[in-house]
Amino acid sequence: MKNKMTLRKKRENIAGFFFSLPCIIGFIMFAAIPMMVSLGLSFTDYNVINHSTFVGLDNYSKLFNGDDPYFYKSLKVTIYYVALSVPTSIIFSFSIAMLLNRDIKGKGIFRTLFYLPSIVPTVAISAIWLWVLNPDFGLANSILKSIGLSPSRWLTSEATVIPTLVFINLWTTGSTMVIFLAGMQDVPRQLIEAVEIDGGGFRTKLFHVIVPMMTPTIFYNVVMGFISGFQVFAQSYIMTSGGPNNSSLFYVFYLYREAFQFMRMGSACSIAWVLFIIIMIFTAILFKLQNKWVYYGGE
């Protein structure tokens, strides 16, 4: 009997392994191997067209000792962006999800409308916002002026460029919203009813039932928002070219420029690895902290 079970288990294991094989091969071929190669290249002066020579930790020390005029600047810019964009996008998409979770007429239409911007290509979104936010001829400033407010420089001023990009980012939080919406379906009805019977209002329902029950979903979205925030690239590439005065020089844009404009692949790989480690550390911290606030049902 014992032996039979093991055999069956073995078979199941093998079958399971085969079922996951495509994924594993994909990961090895398209992620693991390139990562290892890039780690290797980060210790060289590789520039694609030439023989590369081993330069040890030069690429890394150049970053940290300040020889590279962009490294710390881009790190600061990116952290600023993440610090602003993660909380705002979480709160914004959560609020929208709350609204769309109500039983109202045309709920499907509203859900579609709010999700729609996330499937518009970034390039198109950027082009529209560039037009709207043009400080001299744009719609946004025309509206501000017509209601008697002073115009903003939006993307063209060092002080406002990141908040503006964060604002544009809110427009595309559709997928986060959908995940919240799905999470809200799992909030036990009876708990909400219990609050209602006890005479609790909306606030009590929100902060004592909905939010606590949703913490795993919130946690997931925070982690994902965090990672994608660190990897933000297209907006600055298309709309600002990292400017003005490098105040929107996002880390990945800086990486891109090093690799594809200055042709220093070795150095670009080291920049990528530093980002990998930064994201790993921050993600680990987030996972450590989740014990304090994330509630997994049944645990």
Binding site: P34, L41, P69, L130, D136, R153, S241, G242, F260, F262
Partner: protein
């Protein structure tokens, strides 16, 4: 717990995606370098004199290029006529958008699919130093069609005094363009077209003020002018080196300092000029504030929609302007002393990896000859300026591409664009200054503070000087630029 574990895996996978940009294979590079080394042992003369194919056996050459839709069409059509003229040559034309060009080209080289001939920007000098491309001086040896003194003296992309990536394939220059109707409406004389009658900077500012109108119809000279509600600007300019450098040179300044050991833009003669441009925005309010972002409209759009009356940028805008259906014109730059400017453009590079040098050189001549085909001629009559001297010195040849009867060559074109440039040209900054790409990236972002009015040109340039100086390595010509 299960949920958490699977999530961790998912997250790690997601994070791993960021690294994929750096993937590449060492083996492949190795291969290419070997092929390159092999082919470079063939001497040039051997390759040019010994045809590798017979007439019955067509050879294929790969040609990579960038450019607008119009340029792509012209090149494609021109390749077709080339193939008709040389039935034994097949050309595989590859249009690659300019922003991805180097990336794609690098990938092709790394994969052992190096093209035979290609458009190129300033990175070509690196290719030259790395031995990837032919020295044009070797290719031109013994070929009367490519004789070095046929070309303008300032148009050479050299990576050393004796080694060249070739002459510019087609020139562009810095140009003052305007909407003539807007001048008429404001009752202002059109910009002058000859160097002798060029405006001083003060006269230029004065005209720009008269052409800048607020929403109540007052111009910028009116004491009640409302600079917060401007509906039409007098001038737009792209905030790039090609716009301010003619003014810097004319004012006795340089991109590099006198002994070419560091930045020169912080010197008073250069900084003054850059400050002048910034003052157009922040002091006189005759130019829009949004010049440093990508949101600035191109010349044809800005002039056609009457957002601006004048526009200073490259002459490549002339084609779009001629198609915009407006009454447009060109003037000389507002420089009334020591008028200095330059011609600029990419060059065609020939890779040493080519196995069909003779055929490749035929294509080279085809593309760079303004009279090779109707499509190429059209390019030289709309966007490009020729590189061969005879097209400037021989009146008939000049008329061939610059006649003011042509739709993209407005009245005064010959004086304002051709003669003023031809007679007062130096080597373009981008061509001459070593490490220009990286230096200019630093300079450009620092200049953002000047355009926004947060710093003076001298302050900003002095501040960035230390970082720039470590990148400065003189010029290719050996003279100050």
């Amino acid at each position: 717990m299960k949920m958490k574990k699977s999530k961790i895996t998912a997250l790690i996978l997601a994070v791993a995606l960021v690294m994929s940009g750096c993937s590449s294979s060492d083996d492949k590079t190795q291969q290419t370098t070997d092929t390159t080394a092999q082919t470079s042992t063939n001497t040039v003369t051997e390759a040019t004199t010994v045809p590798k194919t017979t007439s019955g056996d067509p050879v294929e050459i790969t040609f990579t290029y960038w450019g607008s839709g119009a340029e792509k069409e012209a090149i494609e059509a021109s390749i077709a006529t080339f193939e008709d003229a040389y039935p034994n040559i097949k050309v595989k034309g590859m249009h690659i958008p300019s922003e991805d060009f180097l990336t794609k080209l690098n990938a092709m080289i790394a994969a052992g699919e190096t093209p035979d001939i290609s458009y190129s920007a300033s990175w070509k000098c690196q290719f030259g130093e790395d031995g990837l491309i032919y020295n044009f001086f070797d290719l031109a040896k013994g070929d009367p069609d490519l004789s070095v003194d046929k070309y303008l003296d300032t148009c050479w992309w050299n990576w050393s005094p004796t080694e060249s990536a070739g002459p510019i394939m087609a020139n562009v220059t810095t140009s003052l363009m305007y909407n003539a109707d807007m001048f008429k409406e404001a009752n202002v004389d059109l910009p002058p077209t000859t160097v002798d009658s060029a405006w001083s900077w003060e006269e230029f500012v004065d005209v720009a003020q008269q052409l800048t109108i607020d929403s109540s119809g007052r111009n910028a000279k009116d004491p009640n002018f409302d600079s917060n509600n401007i509906s039409q600007y007098g001038i737009m300019f792209s905030p790039n080196w090609n716009v301010y450098m003619p003014f810097v040179y004319s004012n006795g300044g340089g991109y590099l300092n006198e002994d070419m050991t560091g930045l020169g833009l912080n010197d008073p003669a250069a900084a003054k000029v850059i400050q002048n441009f910034a003052d157009l925005i922040n002091v006189y309010h005759v130019a829009p504030t949004a010049i440093q972002s990508n949101s600035m409209p191109a010349a044809a759009t800005a002039l056609a929609s009457k957002q601006a009356a004048m526009y200073i940028d490259g002459s490549w805008n002339h084609l779009d302007l001629s198609k915009a259906g407006i009454n447009w014109g060109v003037g000389v730059l507002p420089i009334n002393q020591n008028y200095t400017t330059f011609l600029d453009g990419g060059s065609l590079i020939v890779f040493k990896a080519t196995e069909h040098l003779k055929e490749t050189m035929l294509l080279y001549k085809w593309i760079t000859n303004p009279e090779s085909s109707a499509e190429i001629t059209e390019m030289f009559r709309t966007i490009w300026l020729p590189v061969q001297k005879e097209y400037y010195t021989d009146a008939k040849k000049l008329d061939f591409w610059a006649s003011e009867d042509l739709p993209a060559r407005p009245t005064g074109f010959k004086d304002a664009v051709v003669l003023s440039t031809y007679e007062n040209q130096v080597i373009a900054t981008e061509i001459d200054v070593k490490n220009f790409n990286e230096i200019n990236t630093l300079v450009n972002s620092s200049l953002d503070q000047v355009w926004s009015g947060d710093k003076t040109a001298e302050e900003a340039m002095t501040e960035v000087k230390d970082q720039v100086d470590s990148l400065v390595d003189g010029t290719y010509s050996g003279n100050r630029s």
